[in-house]
Symmetry: C3
Subunit: 145 residues, 3 copies
């Protein structure tokens, strides 16, 4: 559990992306532009017309449990960290109110809007190291150098 | 993308509303009473006995994709911004664990409790301006005057 | 509505738990170890292989609406407060993207990872008092002594 020096103050950023933007790429570009070291999603409200999601059954050796959604969806949850690789999970609701969720692979084309509050733990630096148990590069929390 | 000066410090508020309160109106009253300028939902846990939701198929010219839910629901997600008009999406789970989600129109009658943490980006002011592309008043992020 | 003195600054903690940890117990241990007084979930992304959830129909006199989930699930939402008793709701997505939600009772065995940002409202103290209307110990927000 890598939380030995996990404490930090916080800076927040509020952004809005409009139709035609892709949400995952927009968030990654924002993190890069502002050189954020420990950014994460605080809240996100909006709508998309597509999504590429990896489902719960995927493992490091079985990554092909992926679905491509197309249609109008409300973002009812977006969670996770943004650095150095975004690790985001999303829950979307459709025209019947039915929900679908998974790991964000991309293609989150914005329908009307996406309002996002990003938190930056200014005293920390988030990195990733290969975890031999999971087979994925997993989060490492360190003090900001 | 209206994030030119999106950076801010944060103040937080923790509130609890009990049975008989309506959650959307209670949050709007809190924002008005405290004169918050850039408030948003950080977390919310609780339960409701009703909800009025707009579904994902709605557009500015087709606003009648609305459902009225009645029954006991757990709030498993509440996301969005609270100023000047609340833009909230919610995900609710029913007595079978099944979830339903959409845009909050109101009528969130609290069953037992709603515990909410509200963030206020103290250096920012959130407003809304009509977006001709979407047909909705969309979020504008500005420095606090 | 117990928000008379609800305003606070914020400290954040970023932690990661790996395979073999149980998420609810790990969060409770972290809160105890750091002696946090007003902690809550800011974001959580990860996956579990099991969950014990109380469903929406439960009341103080009918607590047995509980399900035990087993299988691979993505955490697509985790909300709530952590002190003095954790009051958490969760939304999980399965291998088809289908979601299930409810009140966290425990048994959140981590599959690959759980990345969590915890907020601590440093000027507040969260406690619980029996609410005769709901029959549950409900949140009370007070200034930190």
């Amino acid at each position: 559990m890598s939380s030995a020096r996990a404490e930090s103050s916080l800076q927040v950023y509020v952004v809005r992306y409009g139709p035609g933007s892709e949400l995952l790429g927009s968030l990654q570009a924002f993190v890069k532009e502002r050189q954020l070291k420990a950014p994460f999603i605080m809240t996100c409200v909006g709508s998309v017309t597509s999504a590429k999601l990896r489902l719960a059954n995927a493992t490091a050796t079985n990554l092909n449990e992926i679905i491509q959604l197309s249609g109008r969806y409300e973002i009812v949850s977006l969670v996770g960290t943004l650095n150095p690789d975004a690790h985001l999970h999303i829950c979307l609701s459709d025209s019947k109110g039915k929900t679908v969720g998974g790991h964000v692979m991309g293609n989150l084309q914005i329908f009307t809007t996406a309002e996002v509050v990003i938190g930056e733990a200014v005293d920390l630096q988030l990195t990733r190291e290969m975890d031999n148990i999971t087979g994925f590069p997993e989060l490492v929390v360190q003090p900001h150098p």
